[in-house]
């Protein structure tokens, strides 16, 4: 019939396509990667997780945003890149009163905004008024609650801002009055929520306390940090450039930083592997072993200021019984979880506050002790798990949360002979259930905002909105109060220890492990010091080219 004449041959087409592909790609094979050109131009290329919500320090709440904002703005106080101790930034010095509730900051006269205006004490008063304005709905306003009357103003109970404990004595002197001595107050001043914003710019593009202000567009942005916002291409790249008006510009070595919002960790790793990035924000767990073996010098695993834990809903029986909670917490083999599941150098956590936080480590730990756990269960009326109801464990959808939940489900089955149902939920549903107390056991994680045990222990005080367990204890609150008023660091840490001991005994939570930061970094990157907060002031970072 009609099978005679054939002009097209499949192999010919394939050859044609392949040669076209090669022709198109020929020019990319020149090995001029970002990493190589970056070292020549001092341009750092960073994988930055997600697209930032905004670059307004009073609006945003995430790590992604922090990484960019810390290049664009600077607070009164900075931090030492190695030790994280507070060091002078916009304030060149400060004086703290004997009762430690009055701070006087002397601002540097050469601190400038990127448009040349001087950075003044009034800028800080304005900025703090802005974040505390009820209308702005700033989620991080509570960072300033230690300032006298700040909370009342933010909650609308006080209308007159002059009664809030922040005053500009003159252009370069700022007085701050606190309600109570707050040992970590200086550390908070390097949190972006307390950073200054440029009044004229804010008011040119919107009102002080309205969201949706356009001042953060690159053409409008005025900052006072070591870098200025050059461009912001949605979902592509954010470029910042060295700010010539920055008071310490002479010591800023990088000329530019490019932030890439790469959400997919595997994509980010591939970008790193092909020299498009100097630093990644993370590394897929399954790649850790590969890098350990092949490129250990590029793999960084650092302790991080966060704890992975489970919440027990103490309002629901049988979890209202302390012994049941203790038994559950004691039958988790944390070592096995970090070595067999997470595999990223995480440390098993027997306490809530990460170890060695400013020298503080919890005095007691929840042990892995199945024998004792069994005995406690028996005491509580569930010998060998008899009559124990089937509980539900809720976690937000993620492969690693699932694996951990399955492991713990097995451990509880093995050691206590009880059954747990696992439920994974979409992030927002999971959050809503946690918040409304609609769970038995829930997975949780907490990252400290500032370096103090308070950043962790504070959430189990009665008034904290982040305590979803239904547990509270006046004695715990009293010990936390005492830690605030303690006369010296040792005393303070002692009170933290006593409070945490109480918490671990009551066991409304079962800590599981201390987070680590796992990321890749090119050997070119210098002055990037691993630390527990994963904060890296860019003014100290530079690139050394080692490519020949």
């Amino acid at each position: 019939m009609h099978q005679r004449v054939y002009h097209l041959k499949p192999c010919k087409t394939l050859t044609l396509l392949l040669s076209l592909l090669m022709a198109l790609s020929g020019c990319t094979n020149d090995h001029n990667t970002n990493v190589i050109t970056g070292a020549l131009t001092q341009t750092l290329h960073i994988g930055n997780g997600a697209e930032p919500q905004d670059l307004d320090p009073h609006i945003v709440t995430g790590v992604t945003e922090h990484r960019i904002i810390s290049a664009l703005l600077e607070g009164l106080v900075g931090k030492d890149p190695k030790t994280l101790k507070p060091i002078p930034a916009v304030a060149e010095s400060w004086h703290i009163s004997d009762d430690r509730t009055h701070y006087r900051f002397r601002l540097r006269k050469n601190a400038r905004w990127s448009n040349g205006d001087p950075v003044t004490a009034q800028d800080f008063v304005y900025s703090w008024k802005r974040i505390l304005s009820p209308g702005l709905g700033a989620e991080y306003a509570y960072q300033l609650y230690s300032v006298l009357n700040a909370e009342a103003y933010h909650k609308g109970r006080l209308q007159d801002f002059t009664q809030v404990g922040v005053t500009a004595v003159d252009d370069h002197t700022l007085d701050v009055t606190l309600t109570n001595p707050t040992p970590y107050f200086l550390a908070i001043l390097d949190h972006y929520s307390t950073y200054p914003v440029h009044r004229k710019t804010i008011e040119k593009f919107g009102s002080m306390d309205k969201r949706g202000n356009r001042w953060t567009k690159p053409e409008n942005y005025t900052g006072n940090g070591p870098f200025t916002l050059k461009s912001w291409a949605l979902n592509r790249i954010i470029k910042v450039e060295k700010n010539p008006t920055y008071w310490d510009a002479g010591n800023v070595k990088l000329n530019a930083i490019h932030f890439y919002p790469v959400e997919n960790a595997s994509t980010e790793e591939r970008m790193f592997r092909t020299g498009q990035l100097h630093i990644t924000s993370t590394l897929p767990a399954e790649k850790i072993a590969v890098y350990r073996q092949k490129n250990p010098d590029q793999l960084y695993i650092n302790p991080y200021f966060g704890t992975y834990y489970y919440l027990f809903n103490t309002r629901r029986p049988p979890l209202d019984d302390k012994r049941v909670r203790q038994a559950l917490a004691m039958s988790i083999d944390r070592n096995s979880i970090v070595t067999n599941i997470t595999k990223g150098g995480q440390r098993p956590a027997g306490a809530f506050t990460p170890p060695n936080t400013l020298g503080y480590t919890a005095p007691t730990q929840i042990p892995f002790d199945p024998v004792r756990a069994k005995a406690l269960f028996e005491e509580a009326g569930f010998p060998a798990g008899k009559n124990f109801p089937t509980l539900e464990l809720v976690y937000n959808t993620s492969e690693s949360h699932r694996k951990i939940a399955v492991a713990i489900q097995q451990m509880w089955k093995k050691h206590l002979n009880i059954n747990i149902n696992l439920t994974n939920q979409d992030w927002k549903v999971y959050l809503a259930r946690r918040k409304s107390g609609d769970y038995d056991i829930a997975r949780a994680g907490w990252i400290g905002d500032y370096l103090s045990p308070n950043a962790f222990l504070e959430i189990f005080t009665r008034d904290s909105g982040n305590n979803h367990t239904g547990w509270s204890d006046p004695e715990y609150d009293a010990r936390m109060q005492k830690s605030q008023r303690a006369s010296n660091t040792n005393k303070r840490m002692e009170w933290f220890g006593q409070a945490e001991q109480l918490l671990l005994e009551a066991a409304p939570i079962a800590p599981i492990y201390t987070y680590t930061n796992v990321y890749l970094r090119s050997a070119d990157v210098q002055g990037w010091h691993p630390n527990i907060l994963d904060h890296h002031p860019y003014k100290y970072v530079y690139l050394s080219g080692s490519h020949d």
Partner: protein
């Protein structure tokens, strides 16, 4: 013809309205809100946020306001990205998604039609089996697997092509286009093979052969028009699927398109963003289906749109 078009356009309006309404109420019924975060937001802050975005008003008022703004082309501010409006985000991402989808569909059509024709010319021989089994692989390989495999081969091992980006460096569009287009190329190949086989067996082709016309003329002039009919009716929904489903490819290749916003808006409970993108894609699907119906009708002599 005009009546046909007019009728279809008028039909589209209630469809869009229904999609809008259902989506509007569904997103509000979903548990969790746009301002739920890991760190609990205080009651006062939450109230202020809700009143700023007018979420504290009765739902029917919110709905009325939304429709009113929609008719004026205003999709509202994004809850997730406070300094951007949904219109701005769409204006930024849509061209990229369009470009990606357009290249992918062109790639799919060329590869698919050529493979389909080749296969149909010698049914049940190696020339048929080889391209058809390749297309079977194409259909079976999901883009989240094919993408990384292509990257591994051409990006990392051979170092021919960039592993990510869109228009940042030469050649970075090739892998995403191939990844996105492959599955569709496979479908198109199978459709055009079947269509061609049917047409090639008909009497008028026999007549053409009897006239002694060369094979290429028979294929291009006589058979192709009828043989591609199934492909054309597939192209409408396929293009819409390509555009709305580019999320995976955009994520793998770090492409700043709209697909990522479309999906993440749902996770973020970014109500306005969910609505904006849903309405947009609904409109696109309707338009593209309309277009493909129109072209099908035009190609098919039985429909009588073309003058005899």
């Amino acid at each position: 013809m005009t009546l046909f078009l007019l009728k279809r356009i008028l039909q589209a309006i209630p469809v869009i309205l229904i999609v809008t309404t259902v989506t509007f109420f569904l997103v509000r019924a979903a548990p969790g809100g746009p301002f739920d975060t890991e760190r609990t937001v205080s009651e006062e802050v939450l109230n202020n946020l809700q009143s700023f975005y007018k979420l504290d008003q009765p739902v029917h008022i919110q709905y009325q306001d939304y429709l009113k703004n929609l008719f004026q082309g205003d999709l509202g501010p994004s809850f997730r990205y406070p300094n951007r409006t949904v219109n701005e985000i769409i204006a930024d991402g849509l061209p990229v998604t369009f470009e990606l989808g357009l290249y992918a569909i062109i790639f799919a059509v060329i590869l698919g039609v050529v493979a389909g024709i080749i296969a149909s010319l010698r049914p049940n021989t190696l020339q048929d089996h080889l391209p058809m089994s390749l297309t079977m692989i194409g259909i079976c390989l999901p883009s989240f697997l094919l993408g990384p495999l292509l990257v591994l081969a051409f990006g990392i091992q051979l170092e021919w092509l960039p592993v990510s980006g869109w228009g940042y460096s030469p050649g970075d569009k090739i892998l995403p286009v191939v990844t996105l287009g492959s599955a569709y190329a496979a479908y198109i190949a199978r459709l055009s093979r079947a269509g061609m086989l049917e047409v090639l067996g008909q009497d008028f082709i026999l007549t053409a052969r009897a006239k002694g016309l060369p094979q290429w003329r028979i294929v291009t002039v006589h058979a192709l028009r009828g043989g591609l009919l199934p492909v054309v009716s597939f192209l409408g929904p396929a293009t819409a699927g390509l555009l709305a489903g580019s999320f995976v490819v955009e994520t793998i290749f770090q492409i700043p398109g709209l697909g990522r916003f479309y999906v993440q808006a749902a996770f973020n409970r970014d109500y306005t963003m969910i609505l904006g993108t849903t309405i947009l894609f609904a409109g696109l699907i309707i338009t593209l289906n309309l277009l493909s119906d129109f072209v099908t009708a035009w190609l098919d002599p039985k429909q009588g749109f073309v003058k005899k």
